[in-house]
């Protein structure tokens, strides 16, 4: 599975009906996917979805035709040299990929990271980087 980030700008969605239509269009393509995160911002709706890797290009095409911005999602990595185990990033991470070990040292479990990038600007040591 591949995690992608899609952004539906405000100008496309006037009401929830428009949003439903977009989802229906995708469903018609017979692709099932998991929505990992759904958030609304003043700029529009952001979805982080997990799609079957072989369908990524098909889904990208479909979204782009609608004017939706699609980004392939990366993950992050933590530079241990810079990290001071403060914990500032932990409460932000929705999946527990960033967490404390028993001795209260920071541990990053890459497999759990969905690339939502919420943590990216929270680190006071700039130790978290997009990969």
């Amino acid at each position: 599975m591949t995690i992608i980030n899609i952004n539906i700008p405000v100008r496309i969605i006037d009401s929830i009906k428009d949003y439903a239509k977009i989802i229906q269009d995708v469903v018609k393509m017979n692709i099932s996917f998991d929505i990992l995160k759904f958030s609304t911002t003043p700029k529009g709706i952001t979805l982080i979805i997990d799609v079957p890797s072989e369908k990524v290009s098909q889904i990208n095409e479909a979204f782009k035709k609608e004017g939706i911005i699609v980004e392939r999602k990366s993950t992050v990595c933590v530079d241990n040299e810079l990290c001071i185990d403060c914990g500032a990033c932990i409460s932000l991470c929705p999946t527990g990929a960033l967490h404390l070990k028993n001795n209260d040292e920071l541990e990053f479990t890459k497999e759990k990271c969905i690339g939502c990038l919420i943590c990216l600007d929270s680190c006071p040591r700039s130790a978290i980087k997009e990969t």
């Binding site: 001071i84 403060c86 932000l92 209260d104 600007d121």
Partner: protein
């Protein structure tokens, strides 16, 4: 049973002192009781490692030839304070680099100095008969300085707030990134390892107390600024020689959209002089309480949601309004423990001795808010009447109102008077250009609003961050009761 400082120091000298960390002391007292613990344990070590925004360093460069009297000076592009003698300066940790603010600041300069990195020193002068040199542009290292004194007027807070955000947007604060609608919570402080929590009546920690500071030796030189003992929010004024310190315990930091600071490691040994001190140093996380405070309200008096203790905070989740919220610390517990252990080893090895304070810290003072001569103005003091149109009005109607009333912003309401959107003259122009006919097609539905009792500075910041010129004033039912625009703010 009582012990004296001399007796404890004698034991340290002979390598016989029994030293434990404040975390270890909890178990010892639980298992052996206070009486035995007081007899067996000589010293309890504490530690903390967190943001210390009040910090800075006094540096002396020595004279140039011909001599210069700095008027302005920068270290790696960070403006230092130079209102003292010719070649002295104070570099504050929250001062940011002129060219890359929010990335590099005074805290990073101090970390780089201690890491023995060369620091770019640039300074200018208006020149005098005794100091004729106009400009200096050179590189210095810590070794080249005569003195480098780390100085923290407010350090080692006894405890701190736990921060949450009730507002509907992400906030970037000195308490870190706070997600909207109570999306997360942050706290600061090491709980049972915190120095002042283990000596809450300042019986052994006072002026002159020798401490672990930034990996070297430092001293408490007084109570910290904002020291607030009656609320159990004591703080310490400390200093230490930067030349002995280690970059492992001094870390420059940058909080997104807030600014730069420094994390400093500080540890204080507490002599177990009697059973009283044995009892106090066995304090547990659950006995240390603090408050969950809503940073969504940017006022001095932020609403307190509830009380919480450090055991709950360290557990990783707290409950707010029936919802489980992830909580994490901003200060490092791992480092705090490491510092308490390091100090323990120093004492065990006979490298660090304890001393009684020359004077005790104040126990009665209170912390006052700023005296402001101008009274704070609120939105209701400067708002004007809003121009209002109905959702069903035609675009023409709205356009006419804009011209008649000479007002750029029109609030759009429904039958119940509830705010549904806003239209500006720009929206009307665009509607004409794009040949739009229906009002609902052109209104901005997500409106940033204000209320009567919001201070005008907060309303002004809302306009600035959102890049807009007007805010409808609404009551608690979302009914429009006025308008303020940048014009009113200019005339205030």
């Amino acid at each position: 049973m009582t012990k004296t400082y001399e007796e404890i120091n004698k034991k340290i000298e002979n390598g016989e002192a029994v030293v434990v960390t404040a975390e270890e002391m909890i178990n010892i007292v639980e298992q052996k009781g206070i009486k035995v613990a007081a007899e067996e344990i000589d010293v309890v070590t504490t530690g903390t490692f967190g943001a210390m925004c009040s910090s800075g360093a006094f540096l002396n460069f020595g004279d140039s030839d011909p001599p210069i009297k700095f008027e302005h000076l920068w270290l790696n592009g960070v403006h230092a304070y130079h209102g003292n003698a010719a070649v002295d300066c104070y570099i504050g940790v929250t001062r940011m680099n002129d060219k890359s603010p929010f990335e590099y600041g005074g805290g990073h300069v101090i970390e780089d100095l201690v890491s023995e990195k060369p620091i770019h020193l640039r300074g200018t002068s208006y020149t005098t008969d005794c100091y004729p040199k106009e400009e200096v542009d050179t590189y210095i290292t810590l070794d080249d300085l005569n003195q480098a004194i780390l100085c923290n007027p407010r350090n080692a807070y006894q405890r701190y707030n736990c921060a949450v955000n009730s507002s509907n947007r992400t906030l970037y604060t000195y308490m870190g990134k706070l997600l909207p609608n109570f999306g997360n919570a942050t706290f600061s402080g090491a709980g049972c390892l915190n120095p002042l929590c283990n000596d809450p009546d300042y019986e052994t920690i006072g002026i002159g107390t020798r401490i672990f500071l930034g990996g070297g030796i430092g001293y408490v030189i007084g109570e910290g600024t904002q020291h607030n003992p009656t609320k159990r929010l004591g703080s310490l004024f400390v200093k230490g020689n930067l030349k002995q310190m280690s970059a492992n315990y001094l870390k420059g930091v940058n909080f997104e959209k807030y600014g730069t600071s420094i994390y400093i490691g500080l540890g204080i040994p507490i002599p177990i002089l009697n059973e009283n001190m044995a009892r106090k140093t066995s304090i547990k996380d659950e006995d240390i309480k603090t408050e969950i405070v809503d940073y969504g309200i940017p006022r001095r008096k932020k609403p307190v949601l509830k009380e919480v203790n450090y055991k709950e905070l360290k557990s990783g989740t707290i409950e707010i309004k029936g919802k489980k919220v992830k909580v994490s610390s901003l200060s490092s517990l791992f480092m705090a423990r490491k510092i308490a252990n390091e100090l323990k080893i120093w004492i065990e090895k006979g490298k660090f001795f304890l001393n009684p304070p020359a004077e005790r810290l104040p126990r009665e003072t209170v912390f006052k808010p700023m005296k402001e001569v101008k009274t704070q103005k609120f939105v209701k003091d400067i708002k004007k009447q809003a121009i209002i149109c109905h959702l069903n009005d035609s675009i023409n109607n709205v356009a006419r109102k804009i011209i008649e009333e000479n007002e750029n912003h029109v609030a759009i309401i429904d039958d119940d008077g509830i705010l549904k959107g806003i239209v500006t003259s720009f929206d009307i122009t665009r509607a004409i250009a794009e040949n739009k006919k229906v009002l609902s097609e052109i209104i901005t539905k997500k409106v940033i609003t204000t209320t009567d009792d919001e201070p005008i500075d907060i309303a002004a910041r809302k306009m600035r961050v959102n890049n807009i010129n007007g805010l409808p004033v609404i009551d608690k039912y979302m009914r429009v009761i006025g308008l303020i625009t940048s014009e009113e703010l200019l005339l205030k």
